[in-house]
């Protein structure tokens, strides 16, 4: 394998691993802020307990996000040196602002949020929690802005093969940015909701639930039920935007090979790039045009219109179906659970969640459903951008490293081993923490000595 393929694999591995953790922390911190605010308002210790337990999960997840994020910041230079040389004038300031306005903020106030109680006032502690939440969200803002610019570049000119910004507002708020940013924040909210609900369900199954478990679970289920339809609307709008700016990506997502009016929606099938067709396709007439353009007779461009400049079809086609399928499942489960909560609302006076046992198992099984949806969505958008780094303007092959392939293969293997180990450990530790909620955590309002070294 050559350096380009290996570098792409390595970058894919790193970014896939990295994205798992910010996807959780971006939204989870707002959940924490909510728990904290509820405690301050009601003085119900259950809310405080929920805050402590999920703060520990947050800290662990954040640490994994930080260390894998540091890897990302080096990968640009080690594996894609051409990227900063050609697009550095645009990408540089966006990345720079991320570090300056977001990364320092979250990393610094996280210390106070985690360990500052008793050393700072309740107000300062609450502010620290808010600043960490703000930091994670601003971080997403800058990264999504850069990523969107790579997909739908705007506000630039090319001089001697280098990109130069002509209008920074147009760069930051490029055409796909609002959709991508909204889609990502909502995805994060769903990922965090299902993670919280799933672990709480596991606690209920295992008998390790506490008063805080019930509070957190209700919050997460209500949030998921509200957010998921909004996500479908946001996704639809994002799709319209992609059709306008990246028609080749849409063609690959839908498995449409020939340009046609009133294109059918392919529910399932096996895209065959050599033959230029989707085999065994199950189609619904005109539905693709209706969904994509909100017009049943609209013309949708096929992959054949983009010779040598379209993404690999099968992975994009499949990833898209996994994302939509998982989203639909999340919708069904979240609404069913919310309905169950509403049905038993009169019994909720004691603050306990009473859900049917099979539903608890379903929720526990879907603890990481947000990861599946996020990763597949990420693959749709990133593989869908290929063969370009900057859509339509700069090919990925033009910016790859000149490092000897065996060296890249070596580091790739090392990263994969470390990531595999960490992923297994992370999931194992979450399970362990759910089953032993008071193992290291102090009892809220109790003696500090009980919570020895609960980092």
């Amino acid at each position: 394998m050559d350096a380009l393929i290996l570098s792409r694999l390595q970058f894919a591995a790193n970014i896939s691993f990295h994205i798992l953790f910010p996807t959780i922390t971006i939204a989870m911190c707002w959940f924490l802020l909510f728990f904290r605010l509820r405690f301050i308002k009601t003085r119900d210790p259950a809310w405080e307990e929920a805050y402590y337990f999920w703060t520990k999960v947050f800290a662990l997840t954040f640490a994994l996000g930080v260390v894998s994020g540091i890897v990302m910041s080096f990968q640009f230079g080690t594996n894609w040196p051409g990227f900063m040389e050609k697009a550095g004038n645009i990408a540089g300031p966006l990345l720079g602002y991320e570090v300056l306005t977001a990364f320092f903020l979250e990393a610094s106030f996280l210390g106070i949020m985690l360990f500052g109680r008793g050393r700072v006032s309740e107000r300062v502690h609450l502010t620290a929690t808010f600043l960490v939440a703000l930091g994670t969200t601003m971080s997403a803002f800058w990264i999504l802005s850069l990523n969107s610019w790579l997909q739908t570049p705007a506000g630039y000119e090319i001089v001697n093969g280098q990109f130069h910004a002509t209008d920074w507002l147009a760069v930051v708020f490029n055409p796909s940015f609002p959709y991508r940013f909204a889609h990502k924040l909502l995805a994060s909210a769903l990922t965090a909701s299902f993670l919280i609900a799933g672990l709480c369900a596991w606690q209920l199954i295992k008998g390790s639930a506490t008063a805080g478990t019930h509070k957190a679970m209700r919050t997460a289920l209500v949030a998921a039920a509200i957010v998921i339809p909004i996500q479908f609307v946001a996704g639809d709008m994002h799709g319209l935007n992609t059709l306008e700016h990246q028609p080749a990506k849409i063609a690959a997502m839908e498995g449409i090979w020939h340009t046609e009016k009133g294109a059918p929606l392919t529910l399932f099938g096996i895209p065959d790039e050599k033959a230029g067709e989707t085999r065994y396709a199950i189609k619904v007439p005109k539905l693709a045009s209706l969904i994509l353009a909100h017009d049943a007779a609209a013309e949708i461009k096929g992959i054949n219109e983009f010779p040598g400049a379209h993404p690999p079809v099968a992975p994009v086609f499949w990833a898209f179906r996994v994302m939509v399928g998982m989203g639909s499942l999340m919708l069904a489960v979240a609404w069913f659970a919310a309905w169950q909560l509403w049905r038993k609302r009169r019994e909720l006076d004691d603050g306990k969640v009473r859900l049917p046992r099979p539903l608890l198992y379903v929720l526990a099984g879907m603890t990481f459903s947000g990861w599946v949806a996020t990763l597949s969505g990420w693959y749709v958008t990133e593989i869908g951008r290929q063969p370009f780094m900057v859509y339509g303007l700069l090919r990925t092959s033009e910016i790859a490293t000149h490092i000897a392939p065996p060296m890249i293969a070596l580091t790739l293997t090392a990263y994969l081993i470390v990531y595999g180990l960490l992923l297994v450990t992370y999931i194992g530790v979450l399970k362990y923490m759910a089953e032993n909620p008071f193992k290291h955590a102090p009892i809220p309002g109790g003696n500090a000595a009980l919570g020895k070294a609960g980092v």
Binding site: G69, V71, S73, G77, L114
Partner: protein, 332 residues
């Protein structure tokens, strides 16, 4: 000097500041990680607690330093990072192990704690040695000859030793009793080897990089620069005096170890910067050749001018919140 010429220099200064802040701040927590195997179980907890609230923010300075290199000097960035491909990967894996071990050691089931303690040490060792190696090959201009490799190897051993001294100094400030006494002992053990190595490196630098000779040993430079090694020597002997006089530590002057070590770091850093300036990759690329367009630098400059002071303010605030002896870390 025009604005276009000045801007790259400003960013060079920002990058230097970030990397210096990184080496000092993450240096002490890497040092604590390197000392971990020497402590008892409960001391390990206290040591980790002493760096718990800080390490995240400390590592951010590395991201800023590399970020400025990436953002402001893209032409040097690719060259430097491709030449350092393997040590960068080693360092990153070390930092990953360390960062997660920190959390896992207390959250994972108890029987795995020893494993994560070892991972914390191993990660600290990988990261600090790799940083030393990178520094060494950077100074030699990525020279692959025997002399260059030997030089890199020398710094790969010296930098962790310097971090250990820094970490011991930190522990002297942040702990008391038995652990503090041990930290004094550790500082005493590592002091001379580190001092000798630093002198050897200073002597070797002109050997591996002849351009440095004129900058330091011309007249009047040699006299103007004399305070640098002199102050280093004074700081060194200040550390030695404190660590060999336990009553001085008891009297509350333990901080001298940390502060003097930081001073040595700062001076070494100054000396190095002076040797290299105005190149960003020695002998190959000046800071102006490596910089991106003035308009983009101006955009980032506005951000830096506003945010960097704010970052420094809340970093100081954070250190004040956790001022004093380390307590057990709790969420309560």
């Amino acid at each position: 000097m025009t604005w276009a010429q000045l801007l790259p220099l400003i960013f060079l200064a920002v990058m230097g500041l970030a990397l210096l802040a990184y080496v000092v701040l993450d240096g002490y927590d890497l040092g604590v990680g390197l000392l971990l195997p020497l402590a008892t179980e409960s001391q390990k907890d206290t040591m980790i607690a002493s760096i718990g609230p800080f390490w995240d923010a400390n590592e951010t300075w590395l991201v800023l330093g590399v970020g400025v290199l990436l953002v402001a000097f893209p032409f040097a960035h690719g060259l430097v990072l491709q030449a350092l491909y393997l040590p960068v990967a080693v360092m990153l894996i070390g930092l990953i192990l360390r960062g997660v071990a920190f959390d896992f050691r207390v959250k994972a089931p108890l029987q795995y704690k020893a494993f994560w303690n070892r991972a914390f040490f191993a990660g600290s060792l990988l990261a600090s040695s790799a940083q030393g190696w990178m520094l060494g090959s950077y100074i030699t201009g990525f020279e692959q000859g025997l002399l260059g490799l030997a030089f890199s190897l020398g710094i790969a051993i010296t930098l962790p030793a310097a971090y250990i001294l820094l970490g011991a100094g930190w522990l002297i400030m942040k702990t008391d009793g038995e652990l503090q006494a041990r930290a004094v002992h550790w500082a005493r053990r590592v002091l001379w080897p580190m001092g000798v190595a630093l002198v050897a490196i200073s002597a070797a630098t002109p050997l591996v990089n002849p351009a440095v000779v004129q900058k330091w040993f011309g007249v009047p430079e040699v006299f103007a620069l004399l305070p640098v090694p002199l102050t280093c020597a004074i700081a060194f002997f200040a550390v030695r005096w404190v660590v060999t006089h336990p009553e001085v530590v008891k009297a509350g002057y333990g901080w001298v170890v940390f502060v003097s070590t930081v001073l040595i770091f700062v001076l070494a850093f100054f000396g190095l910067s002076y040797s290299i300036y105005p190149d960003i990759v020695i002998g190959r690329m000046t800071v102006w050749e490596a910089a991106i367009g003035t308009e983009s630098l101006t955009v980032i400059f506005i951000g830096v001018a506003i945010t960097l002071p704010v970052i420094i303010v809340y970093t100081v605030f954070m250190y004040r919140v956790f001022w004093g002896k380390a307590r057990d870390l709790t969420y309560n």
